[in-house]
């Protein structure tokens, strides 16, 4: 197994772990963190798998770079929404999760 395939495996593992955390927790901040780690796992999987046995491939790398910027922007927006939600309701979970 090459180091790139190892990265892909770790990416898959990170994705699965974060997916579990995303489902298990109801606190919105934890969910956001888990969602971010899922994204990171995806990036690692994408880059690792594409450069296995062929060396660096600029197309997936550019794709991941774009993905990182979008992820940062959406995380920041989610945090703004979350703080707004907390300021408005005093809740850190969504109503569906509170009553479930």
């Amino acid at each position: 197994m090459s180091i790139d395939l190892w990265y892909a495996m770790i990416g898959g593992l990170l994705f699965a772990l974060a997916f579990g955390a995303f489902m298990a927790h109801t606190h919105l901040l934890r969910r956001l963190l888990a969602f971010n780690i899922m994204g990171t796992g995806c990036f690692l999987l994408l880059v690792g798998l594409s450069q296995h046995g062929r060396g660096p491939d600029p197309v997936p790398q550019a794709l991941v770079l774009t993905g990182i910027v979008v992820a940062v922007a959406s995380t920041a927006l989610a945090l703004v929404l979350l703080r707004r939600w907390f300021a408005a309701t005093g809740q850190t979970t969504l109503p569906e999760d509170t009553h479930a």
Binding site: L5, A8, M9, G12, L13, F15, A16, L17, F19, G20, A21, M23, A24, H25, T26, L29, L45, L49, S50, H52, R54, G55, P56, D57, P58, V59, P60, Q61, A62, L63, L65, T66, I68, V69, V70, V72, A73, S74, A76, L77, L79, V80, L81, R83, R84, F86, A87, G90, T92
Partner: protein
């Protein structure tokens, strides 16, 4: 967190892990060698670095949409400000009483400010021939802005709302305008002529850097203040 919830989440997570591991083990062979395709096209791209060439030449459409996403995120964050009825935009810089007044932070800021500015411009320029580019440079500038916001503004610099809106939009606007101008020249959208490519790419990267920095800093600045309550 209930026991059933934790258990089902754990089971599903383990299932996903096993599925992904099997998929990576039995991966299909790649049909085309994209790296080689890019390598062959680099001489026509106007820049020497392959990732910059992909971002701003071969797949510039993605980058255009990316800066549009950043713009939308920044605009939504602005729309969610505390008093939606007022026309005031939360300022990028802190009010005098909100700043954390420690000599350490002020000194750090004075030391880092010039270094970070130079680093940002260097990263932008380096993007043409080695790893670097607008996004890295914009991130450094945004970090500089966050430091500036946290520590207060020792230089007394403020950014008016009009300048801020302008900086927010300029990246997307210039990119779109340059891309559309190619249509007037009879070329496809976002397809730069080889002899002008480097100048166009560097110019777009420069305005992208400004917009990225202001979007990220604006997202940071427009987060509602919840400091008085503990989540």
């Amino acid at each position: 967190m209930t026991r059933a919830r934790t258990l089902s989440a754990g089971l599903l997570s383990a299932g996903v892990a096993v599925t992904l591991a099997l998929a990576i083990r039995d991966r299909p062979r790649a049909g085309i060698d994209l790296a080689a395709t890019v390598r062959n096209a680099i001489p026509d791209s106007g820049v020497e670095h392959d990732i910059t060439a992909v971002l701003l030449q071969f797949r510039s459409y993605d980058t255009l949409l990316e800066i549009a996403v950043l713009l939308v995120a920044a605009v939504v964050a602005l729309a969610l400000r505390d008093e939606p009825s007022s026309r005031t935009v939360p300022p990028l810089e802190t009010a005098e009483d909100e700043a954390i007044n420690t000599p350490l932070l002020a000194a750090l800021q004075r030391l880092l400010l010039p270094v970070m500015l130079v680093t940002a411009v260097y990263l932008l320029w380096a993007g043409a021939f080695q790893p670097g580019g607008a996004f890295q440079a914009g991130a450094v500038l945004a970090a500089l802005g966050v430091l500036w916001r946290v520590a207060g503004s020792p230089l007394g610099v403020t950014i008016s709302a009009a300048w801020r809106r302008g900086a927010l939009v300029i990246g997307f606007a210039v990119f779109l305008a340059a891309g559309s101008a190619m249509l007037l020249l009879g070329r496809p959208l976002l397809n730069w002529p080889a002899e002008w490519a480097k100048i166009i790419i560097i110019a777009i990267e420069f305005v992208l850097m400004l917009s990225i920095a202001v979007s990220l800093l604006g997202l940071f600045a427009s987060s509602p203040n919840a400091a008085d309550q503990q989540p």
